[in-house]
Symmetry: D2
Subunit: 512 residues, 4 copies
């Protein structure tokens, strides 16, 4: 029995909606992408969005080319046609970029190493001056178009995971520092109000990079504005056909690892307390891990969301939707993509975990443990999220009991459930035979089932204490809401009578 003490405020920094990840920027031109983002914004409403590929060739910004017709002439021009389209779309949906500067335009690259199906070039610039010109021109264009006061609030991160050879040639640390220094200087030259950070390393055993990065910027005397890193919580996947199956890690190991980053930074007097942004996190780091589509993922992430704010300013789920092409074009709607939303605008179980956390934003945390979090609102109500997951194998039902001190009176308890049979489109799709192309009828059925089960209950408290049991099935998330709900029956309305029905009039019956 968990006894809630409303005066006992628990530590909880709810930054669920600060930022979300996305497939490469060029995909933001797609209709399905925008449709999925619209759904996410309607239900969750993230403030920022971060992804790769701002400078990748499909965005067509960097135009260093011979004249199309007169091959003797060469021109360096910037083309912001697609950038404008993408940014207009973002801002229309109430979301702002968390700018990641990368990857390298082909014509500016020093090599031809690329990453992903969509061939992002990951080599250093052949000219750092031209790179800086590109960065400055892009930021200035954004300022011209969207206004200085708006644009300088968009955080700027330099590159992505340079500690991996697939993302940065040879994972050359000194070369990255050079890139960082020059870029930092270029951005601040455009406007010193810009917030700039790095090194955007992948998580795990990367203390070396963080630590070296902090030493470097301290030595250079750079007043960086934040530090970024990533956070994935699985072991390497096992592969089969188009898919990868990664074992989930122990969550506590991840939290510990995150804390080391905090410690490293704080060990530098100059940077103590500097914000850390986790610019990517999820369970698996591959875009074809079916675990992403499961209720297990929803439950695992529910715990993450209760803890990630402990040491970090923000954390950005990788990614909002499944329009994502790193490993090519998926064959089916449920292919283990990172997204909160599957193709066809179908919300996955984890989508609802985010909705639940968004709904408790601004409330006061009165309890938090490894299985649940409980918040108090300012109208006499309580709201909690309970999760139940196993890393593998068959989970068991779990019951949480709460004792909550409340005023006497009538209350309505609402339960929203995400489990095997609720908000679980993956199961419905599987039962339908795992069709690669959804017919309209299949899509209708899946969408109808892709919503949490909702039940309500009326409870009257007479002893200033509400006892509440929350039952979590295996691999599930349950949100509960307790609302004061005094009965205000209209004159003549008697619900019990309505439900009971009326016995026929014996005389009427007799007449027959």
């Amino acid at each position: 029995m968990i006894r809630i003490d409303p005066s006992n405020v628990a530590g909880f920094n709810n930054r669920t909606d600060f930022c979300v990840g996305t497939g490469r920027m060029g995909l933001a031109l797609r209709k399905e992408y925008i449709d999925q983002l619209r759904l996410v914004q309607e239900y969750i409403g993230f403030d920022h969005i971060r992804g790769h590929g701002l400078f990748t060739d499909d965005m067509a910004i960097y135009q260093d080319q011979v004249d199309f017709f007169d091959k003797s002439k060469k021109y360096l021009e910037y083309n912001f046609t697609y950038l404008d389209l993408v940014m207009d779309n973002y801002l229309d949906l109430g979301i702002r970029p968390f700018i990641e500067l990368g990857f390298m335009p082909g014509k500016l690259a020093s090599g031809d190493q690329t990453v992903f199906y969509w061939k992002g070039n990951v080599t250093p610039p052949k000219s750092y001056d031209k790179w800086c010109d590109l960065v400055k021109a892009t930021l200035r264009h954004l300022i011209d178009r969207y206004g200085r006061d708006e644009v300088v609030t968009w955080p700027v991160e330099v590159w992505n995971e340079p500690n991996l050879t697939v993302f940065w040639k040879d994972a050359d640390m000194q070369e990255y520092f050079k890139l960082f220094d020059r870029t930092f200087e270029a951005v601040k030259e455009v406007d010193p109000e810009f917030k700039v950070g790095g090194p955007a390393v992948c998580g795990g055993s990367d203390e070396l990079w963080i630590s070296s990065f902090m030493d470097h910027v301290e030595e250079k005397g750079l007043d960086i504005d934040f530090v970024t890193r990533h956070h994935y919580t699985t072991e390497p996947p096992r592969f089969e056909g188009h898919y990868g199956y990664p074992p989930l890690s122990e969550a506590e190991d991840g939290f510990k690892n995150l804390h080391t980053t905090r410690d490293i930074i704080d060990s530098h007097e100059r940077y103590r307390g500097l914000p850390i942004h986790i610019t990517e996190y999820n369970t698996s780091y591959i875009p074809n891990a079916p675990v992403h589509d499961t209720t297990r993922n929803a439950a695992y992430i529910a715990q993450q969301l209760s803890r990630l704010g402990d040491d970090n300013e923000s954390y950005s789920y990788w990614t909002f939707g499944d329009v994502f092409e790193e490993h090519g074009v998926p064959f089916t709607p449920f292919h283990g993509g990172f997204g909160l939303v599957a193709d066809g605008c179908i919300p996955k179980p984890t989508f609802w975990t985010f909705v639940f956390y968004k709904q408790i934003k601004g409330m006061t945390c009165v309890h938090k443990d490894d299985d649940c979090i409980v918040m108090k609102d300012d109208k006499g109500g309580y709201h909690g999220i309970c999760w139940n997951y196993t890393r593998w194998g068959e989970g068991k039902e779990k019951t949480s009991s709460f004792s909550i001190p409340v005023d006497n009176g009538r209350y309505c308890i609402v339960r929203n459930t995400v489990d095997e049979n609720n908000a679980n489109p993956l199961k419905i799709w599987h039962d339908l035979g795992e069709p690669s192309s959804l017919s309209k009828e299949e899509k209708r059925i899946i969408l109808a089932g892709a919503k949490p089960g909702i039940t309500t209950e009326s409870v009257t408290v007479t002893e200033k204490e509400m006892e509440l049991k929350i039952v979590n099935g295996p691999e599930s998330v349950v949100k509960f809401d307790i609302y004061p709900a005094a009965l205000t029956a209209d004159r003549g309305y008697d619900y019990d009578r309505v439900i009971r029905g009326e016995e026929p009039d014996p005389e009427e019956t007799a007449k027959k």
Copy 2:
């Protein structure tokens, strides 16, 4: 155990979507009315809509007035401004009027008796010539605006329930026959293709009116096109405050009563087989009977829909929505209105009964009894609707077992449930305290819960026989769908493995 024999076609005339009832025509100018109708059309899609008040003063068609400024002058004019608005809205939503000619414009009325909060005048015209002019001018205007071929398909009914003194002064039968004869003649004068009928009597013990009406038209030699009557299935309500509580009737009594109408008509050689349109039906005939909002109503109507086509060409549920003012303006969203949809565009349980019947349209009926109906589609699937209701008191759970001959293979069974905890916004609203004004959050919760519970199940048939159990909770409707669903797993996708999760690598674990 019900053994389905696909070759055994059962009698079932599915006219669920032919027509639906509505509050008075003037209300069709309202935004909430149109929003509710749009929802209904999206999910159900009725062909026709019928209601009162075409000629009532708020439609402002009949303008017999002194000049506003020069009181010495008097003019008779027709004003079709509002009629056009209403009809444009209807046609935009893909629905056509089933025209009811009534009630009497105040300036054309012979008396001042009115019915309802909105004061429909129910007295005969003071001039039958002017009445006929009005009818003809209105139909001609419609033909001008919407085209002759379109408009002549709109059925025309003369007046409403003239056998009740509240709807027709003194329930004067001879006066009604006069009205009918003159009107019939007027309509056919505009275009003989118009289909015209009556007498639109309320149901119950009204054999006299039907019978007299048939004698009358036969004597007059009128080739009427159809006969209309109503069909309500409760005893008189017991009243309390703003509400009425009517006992539900025995359904079988109603079906018998309907059959007498068929018999009466068929007893006239000239009219044998003449179509009967039930231009109104529902459980209760009052707009403030809370039973309308219940799952009991949904289950009761499920049975009605399986039988009403037996003797009738069509049957029009009274009404599609709760924008309806006969007894004044409701105080709360759940006030026992007739509608399939409550105010706030909230679908009531009975809404889903209609959705289910619409979904099986065009399929072949292979079984029908007092508890269920089963259809066969042309792709190897089956679809059934099972209901379970009591007229009063606490119902019990009921299980139906089916044995269905199918090809061997994998199937997906989908169950859609309407019961106490599914698609039952009334209960949620009650649990929330029966608020008269819904806050945005209350509305969100109610809407989230106003949908059928949906579950899927995968079944593999090896003996050419599927055994299916459908469990109906008390006062419930369950739709089941059986789809062939061969598993077409993508390369490398293994659902069981996805659900089971991966055990961590012992080496990885050991490393820690």
Copy 3:
């Protein structure tokens, strides 16, 4: 030649968008009403909306009735169902009520005198206590639903035009003062932050009422928050059939009259500078004056909008749309209604006058005279509105010449024209034969023509002075915009060459 001196700031208080009038509140339930308001809000965006009928019976708030079923019982209840719908719609469209408390619910009225087709009761309450209860209950309900901080910003006006016998029984001044005092007290009791005012008199020779009202409140020591009056600018109409033809007044007479109100108030030391809200204005005060639909009206109102802020805090055009039933239901879409928008969501000429004034909001006025107003923006551009009207007869073309000091460089001049052949749907409708019911094709043609003519011109300034000629046809409004527009031609783009076209290659030609 008007020489603009940018440093010479002219007096102009642009409150164009503070408030707009509306047909009775019950009409806000209509779809067409909401559609028209949506159009108005999209293009103009008013902050507040004011109209009659909050307490009129069709809003159904005051329910003092015998039980529907048990006639021996009587109940006084408030029904806010429709009020909520209306307010929800308003707030969704970004507009807030300017609350007018009136008219009298039938059951609370001391007499049966009514005004308008829709029968607003204009007699004093039979119980002032019950009236105050009604006012307080209504405001408290709004506060419950929409929040205190929001609702107290909604201004509250007591009754409408009590100085006319049609709007207030016998135009009894002392009775109005009683109503005002009691109501003022009641509103302040709910929350002293509410801003309350009166006496909402019609304009013209009503110095007596304003003056007496100020004496009265001073004597009573009431700290009223503002004074309200109306302002129409025609002589009495001449009537013919459904229509009235009023001569337009000399505008200057109206401005003088308005100033007397300012003087009367300022003559009371206690109330010096107290805000005046003109809660209604237009040319004619009848809803069937065809002048409302003309470009003459657009030009006349253009002048009004340049001056009405001189003495007044705000001014509310009567009305935003033509869903309005004071004299019954209009027979045609162009019937001389008050609206900026005609039925069918067709913007009238005056609509664009408002759009033009809205577009110059926030800019600095550098010139204002009887024919035009010129504003300066903060990006080096200028924007002006020029009007040309006659009160009657055939107007003449008029040319305004401006000399504007600007930086050297290239500019784009945009002209938007409302005149006989532009933005004049009335003429198109007339040419089409004045159809009472618009077919889809007729509506398409009228809508296509219901937009200002727009032309652009490129001008290069080399002597720091731009000379600009604006030609106004008879009864017209022209908006001009001057934007700096340096040519930023893309590489290889040559507009003159594009327009000129290419001569064919002689060799090609020869080959043939």
Copy 4:
């Protein structure tokens, strides 16, 4: 003076809306593409859409790859994920594909020659069997998803412009015939109801290809269903920077050239009268020819549309919109793209030419010459399109005079004008400085001006003859519509009095 004789039916085959061209299929995933297509469908409503790139790698259909994880395994799979998205979008917008089979998937190609920025592979298949498998699998997938009866109505064309070396390696005719034969056979194997044709050659001096193709299919005994070719009407462009400036050809030369194709086909007895589809036409054949954005283009195409049906079953304007990447990403919204619509959903002048031709569909042609076409409707009205263009240089105003026999009575004449100052967004954009990124205000201004000027006029005919003058400015299109428009003035409405205004009452005036 052109004297119209209504009984004199002129030859005119209006297939304006049968088909329209599009950028490569992969672009149909874009939001802006769909937005532009929606606009086009709303105003024009094409039946079919044809473009390149169905099998190009970005559509990701042909997946012949080693396993992503286990490099020792290789799989050939088809991925229809994107194809479904594109086709769903098309069908939702009421448009169907005119299927062009091409280009070659990289993994199926025999070489690496590509065309365009988006690198369409233009080499023959390395295995014709695999090519045929791909074609059959794709068509069968479409049939599965959209139904056989639907899909077999989609015409199938084999490849694009194989007579050019850029589109087909070496423009190898025999290799194309091989491709055609195998493909033809494959398609017919899926369903013999499919209509299949070729050779899709570019126009001009290509009699050889058409002629050889006909000989070939005749020799092979193939019952092809139609012949396809293209039709562009400029000389080679002159280049400058990002743009090309082509001289317009003499239209008559083009029509003659088209007729030779008809003659060649008809010279084969077996194929006499076989339908010819012009699967591409426009003025210039480069996507950066500014002429496309001009009113000159609109006028030139107006003539084309009056004649192209003379010899051809259909003609498909290349293209509906400017989302098109053949030469890379455009730098500005007006870059001379092929589209009827510019980026930002701005209709270009030629858009309206199509709207005008669509509006006269189904009417009877009573006059056609080099400058205009006149149609008669079945309600007593006439509708004409008049154009005026020069191939280069400064055009002159042109006046067309018509004498049209009509019944006596009142008529409304509507003129819609596309010329320098109407429906000419290019000029507005130029005047605004040719901005590469449109601000919201610039876009608003351009959109406001991107519509035809519309004027109406009322004419009363008393001598059974209407004389009509249509004035065309240089490089313009004018549509006129003549509607019977009897005046049906409402009681008391007097338009002349409305316009004249009322003189003030001398007494009123005197009172002052």
